[in-house]
Amino acid sequence: MPLLEMRNIVKEFPGVRALDGVSLTLDAGEFHSLVGENGAGKSTLMKVLSGVYPEGTFAGEILVDDASRHFRGIRDSEKAGIAIIFQELSLVKELTVGENIFLGREPSRFGIVNWSELYHRATKLLQDLNLPIDPQVKAGSLGIGQQQLVEIAKALSQDAKILVLDEPTAALTESEVETLFGILENLRKRGVGMIYISHKLDEVFRMSDRVTVLRDGKTVATHTAADTNTNEIIAAMVGREVGDIFPVTTHSRGATALSVSNLTAYSADIAGKKLVDSVSFAVKKGEVLGIAGLMGAGRSELLMSIFAAWRGKHVRGIEVDGRPVKINSPSDAIDNGIGFVTEDRKRFGLILEQTIVDNMTLAGLKRLSGRIFTNRTKENHAVAGAMKSLRIKANSPLTVAGTLSGGNQQKIVLGKWLLTDPSVLFLDEPTRGIDVGAKQEIYAEINRLAKEGMAIVLVSSELPEVLGLSDRIIVLHEGRVTGEFTREDATPEKVMAAATGNH
């Protein structure tokens, strides 16, 4: 009898079927890994399991100990013995470790907290896990890795029978990873069932009893770890053909437009942690360079650092058109002809309450309008032209950006940067969360720009996108280049192998 069974889970978002009939079983004491590309549906599945998406917002059935469960929220799933440790830490940094562990369940009488019992229990719990952490220190004073371990202690204090770990080692040092695996090994012996989401296949194979592969919201395969191997898993992860939405275009390449040497970027939060480690690359005029890699591989940090917009420390050498340049601020980058269509348009790209014109002219304002005084009519004229060529569907340049669809918003961000007249364009996740039609239009635009001689650096988590558009691909894994392929020799399997560190 399985400890947990998820049957035929279907979860739809507007326009997307994120989960399409996923089934999964977990036995007591089993270590079950869940792997797949970014966007395959792993996190969504776990949000269904934990009640973040409550009963009724998805189809399918969840059984724990053979009884059907209906979770209306996280509380319900916790009561059923399910604990989830999400990628983003959820500790309250200003509270102590002990307070965090018992947050919302403080041992108390008549509303008065029994502090000595709380800390006594916290100490015992941490000792059981062999964690040398003082429950009286503030959670925020611990390193990210230790905080992660506290989260696990918190989950166990709730007598979790089912523990879900979403990329728990992403921020850990090697010795912390060892501590974590020691704890997980212990839990396995105690009969706790674990679902482990990771991009790191070596970890997956080290610990797992079984491995389930998700792709495009479907269960592709469930293998016993002993009967399978890395190649088989990678093949199952990528498994799809690059469709013909990518017209194969060969771009004629010119001189080197941008070259970056020995770029190293450090974490802004963890002292000394390198997110990008000595990466060098060059991109030629008319070339589309794809940068592939999984979440946390350092791709956005790489682009942000070139643009002098990375919050943490970063060092690098940059040459534009063969001459060394100093880029100390985004405006230096813009002056040197670099444009940057940033990821997460709502956070980094747009001012949602402002109009299309105000957004699209922002980066190139001095060029499009005037150095000191603005000229609205001139701006409207430039924007009207860009809206037409990018096919932005809105009534007028005065429409508020926030009222538009994701695809149109993305085109505004693209337009903003095209209006700076760049010779090198960075695109970070340019089609995240937009519909297929808008995607194709953006692909066509990228190909058109390359044909006109623009150098393009494309970061995307969607492998088909990188393979379909790029003339050349470099692959990052944990901040280092682990592979470089031309369009001809790039295959999904090779890129995925490099991205998971198996090269």
Partner: protein
């Protein structure tokens, strides 16, 4: 999408109309309620405008600081401090008027640059920096003046706060203003054609120019019906025009809205947010210096408590005028209208002999109610 667009444009315009209507109602009520119907007379309107000038000038600078997502709580104390220095220079040290004027404005700028750099470059929250300034600059005035009131005898200086310009000069200025309104309407119509966005609509633009032109003429007529346009009102109008121009028609103004609307997006678009925040604080400082001169000149002396609570009047004017304390939203026109509404309440309630504690309670309630209605209106759209 059609609806979304039209409703937004209407919402901004609608807001201005509602505020004008509210102002009209307040005026009509006070006129009806005051004994002898004295509120809407040329003399009282002239007084009213003079009374709002200090707050109005500060509100213009404050609006820009608020749009950039910041705040300045220290301006009331800086009015006292800069005014105190001006008075001190003229009386105790015997400097002339120009030195005093320049000194007051420079003091304002220096305070603005200092507090602005603490906020922008050292990342100390603006609320804290300027709360500290509120206390510290007030302390500085008391120290400077030794707790005494320093009378200023210079008649030219007093004229800054109390004189009126001759009627003919008023009409000349009105003529210039009307010509400027017509010329800008003509240019707007022209540039549409120039960039191929459609036919030049001279008639439509000129029709739109009738309202501002009419307002200018009516204003001068009313002011001249008493003693002519008061000098502080003229200065306030000049400052408001400058502020409107900066926010609407300069790169600096656009950057302020961008920084307040989404600091991350602004920074990644190449905007130096720190430098612009420093600039906007310096500008507010300069305007506070100007306001301090008018304040001191009107009273005829520098006092240790000069300008107390002026920061709250200015912030209230901006907020009543539709500015968001989160940044990214607000207009100079709204802030000036807000200042006029606040001044009208002060003036009208004084004419009605409302006790001062009651005045405070009413003003406080109106501030909260105005923002409450605004939020409720926003939620619907």
């Amino acid at each position: 999408m059609e609806e979304a667009k039209t409703s937004r444009i209407n919402a901004t315009a609608l807001r201005a109309y509602i505020m004008l209507a509210v102002l009209g109602l307040i005026w009509i009520y006070f006129h009806w309620a005051t004994p002898g119907n004295t509120f809407l007379t040329a003399r009282n309107l002239s007084n009213l405008m003079t009374q709002m000038s200090v707050t109005g000038i500060i509100a213009v600078g404050m609006l820009m600081v608020i749009v950039s997502g910041n705040i300045d709580l220290s301006v009331g104390s800086v009015v006292g401090f800069a005014g105190g220095i001006a008075a001190f220079l003229m009386t105790t040290w015997g400097f002339g008027l120009p030195v005093a004027i320049i000194a007051a404005i420079l003091v304002g700028v220096a305070v603005g640059v200092f507090q602005g750099s603490l906020t922008a470059y050292l990342n100390i929250p603006a609320f804290i920096v300027t709360l500290g300034g509120l206390l510290a600059w007030r302390g500085a005035v008391k120290w400077l003046l030794g707790g005494n009131t320093i009378p200023v005898a210079d008649e030219t200086f007093k004229a800054i706060g109390n004189a009126n310009i001759p009627a003919t000069v008023g009409w000349v200025l009105a003529g210039i203003a009307v010509l400027a309104v017509i010329y800008s309407a003509y240019r707007r119509a022209n540039s549409v054609q120039q960039y191929g966005l459609g036919e030049a609509n001279y008639k439509g633009e000129l029709l739109k120019a009738i309202i501002p032109a009419g307002a200018v003429i009516a204003f001068i007529a009313v002011m001249n019906a008493w003693q002519g346009v008061p000098v502080p009102v003229l200065i306030m109008l000049a400052v408001a025009l400058l502020g409107a121009f900066l926010t609407n028609s300069t790169v600096f103004g656009r950057y302020l809205y961008a920084i307040g609307g989404n600091p991350d997006a602004a920074r990644l678009s190449g905007i130096n947010d720190k430098r612009n925040i420093l600039k906007v604080y310096a500008l507010l400082g300069a305007l506070t210096g100007v306001a301090s001169l008018i304040f001191t000149a009107r009273v005829g002396s520098a006092a240790p408590d000069a300008g107390v609570l002026k920061e709250l009047d200015a912030i209230a004017a901006c907020v009543i005028g539709g500015a968001s304390l989160m940044g990214g939203r607000g207009t100079i026109f709204g802030a000036c209208l807000g200042a006029l509404i606040m001044a009208s309440l002060d003036n009208g309630m004084s004419l009605l002999n409302v006790r001062d504690f009651m005045q405070d309670i009413i003003k406080g309630s109106i501030l909260v109610a105005a923002v409450g209605l605004d939020m409720a209106g926003r939620k619907q759209t």
